[in-house]
Symmetry: D2
């Protein structure tokens, strides 16, 4: 079993640390992919045509990073987390669409579009299966009350 | 005029860089306030009673930081940004409520609750006045098409 | 007394929460200023001439944000923190120099150069006065042993 | 070839995108591992004994995340990057030592210590082989001058 998955399965009632770990992993991959794609776009001759791509990359990188962190915490799933994962799914989709427009010209855009797509899918699955609503029941909250 | 506000008023069609700057400012203050409150909670004798407060602080800090960054970019307001600002408002409210529970015992919680409240208000105002939908019309997008 | 300063003065032996708060504040201002300047640069007609400025802005924004967070924690000052504040001072200086090259053309670069300079100064002062070496002695560490 | 590696090999003169990709990957793994370990520590019964571990985890997570981002940018390696990678190596080592103290009690600390160790090693190798000094020579800088 993967190390992250093992760490996530401790102290949680959620049945599937595996799919949670996959979603977190997809977010981190997407964050990095977007940072690299933004930077590679900046280095292209026709950078003016890539401005929107760069901005969407930067937005997407930031949102993915925070979503990964938030998903890693043992708080009860709530509206906050749902809104955040929703924002993440949308940021990934926007970025994917834009990257795909440049995919035939730029390999980094082609690769980034694929990473964005996978992350958007993971986020949407998490929202649909309502895993988010069973993420928590954290021991800390119990102690806290 | 404040330096951030000046920078934001360049290249934007949005009528009110001032309220945008206020919202960004509130997010950054809240990020830092939550980082400090989490750390101060960790140092308290009764840290077990503050676990949930610490986790909400960490979540809130991360979401506020990213929201500030995203609000600073000249992308057209869209569902992504709305979902993110919504997540931010909720993170702040959750954190405010929890901090207030400890406010009589811990000055840092009392101060942090106030900062969270202000940030939540700024975010909600931005959502309600629909400023977010007029944020953009970015020059870059125009060039890009 | 400023709210952050108040929060920082709790539970610390460091004599001067004020200068610590100033440094943290300078880091956060610089983070945001760099995010905004990078975005404004991306929107300029002559974006190809601003690539290096954008990259330095992004680097500087990230390092400043993390330095602010790290300075906010009650850990004993050590080589890690010194290296980080050093990295922050250098990132700010690199970014200031580059921004100043474009200052006559772009107001956002002129403003950003000033914010970077101030942050670099705060970081260097902190390193020189060796405040960093008295930051900690945290209660938690004592409990921990 | 791994997707990140492919993206990094575009537009760079550095001979070894592979080892750079490994280092970036180690940083991201460490960031997440530390976020999860901090959260798991917060959930433990004896949380008071883990305060220092939590703080070091949070510091390490933040520094690792920024180092990964900075390593991904096509800027010439310089003193800033060296100081940052140095800070990252030290943060990882501090965190590893502390996590190892709790490794027999807490599986998450044992796993996190291993991830920290690997990241520290990657960073030190990068510093020693002076790969960092050949990272850049970025096309953008050339255009920029």
């Amino acid at each position: 079993m993967h190390s992250l998955e093992k760490m996530l399965s401790r102290g949680r009632t959620i049945a599937e640390p595996q799919s949670l770990a996959e979603c977190i992993d997809a977010c981190l991959n997407c964050e990095l992919s977007c940072v690299v794609c933004a930077d590679a776009c900046l280095g292209e001759r026709e950078v003016e045509a890539l401005r929107r791509c760069i901005r969407l990359n930067l937005d997407c990188a930031d949102v993915c990073g925070v979503t990964a962190r938030s998903l890693s915490r043992q708080l009860q799933a709530d509206d906050m987390l749902r809104a955040l994962v929703e924002a993440c799914a949308r940021a990934c989709s926007l970025c994917e669409v834009e990257c795909r427009r440049h995919a035939s010209m730029h390999e980094h855009c082609r690769l980034c579009a694929a990473t964005c797509r996978r992350c958007a899918e993971c986020c949407r699955e998490a929202l649909e299966r309502q895993q988010l609503s069973t993420r928590g029941d954290d021991a800390a909250a119990a102690v806290d009350v």
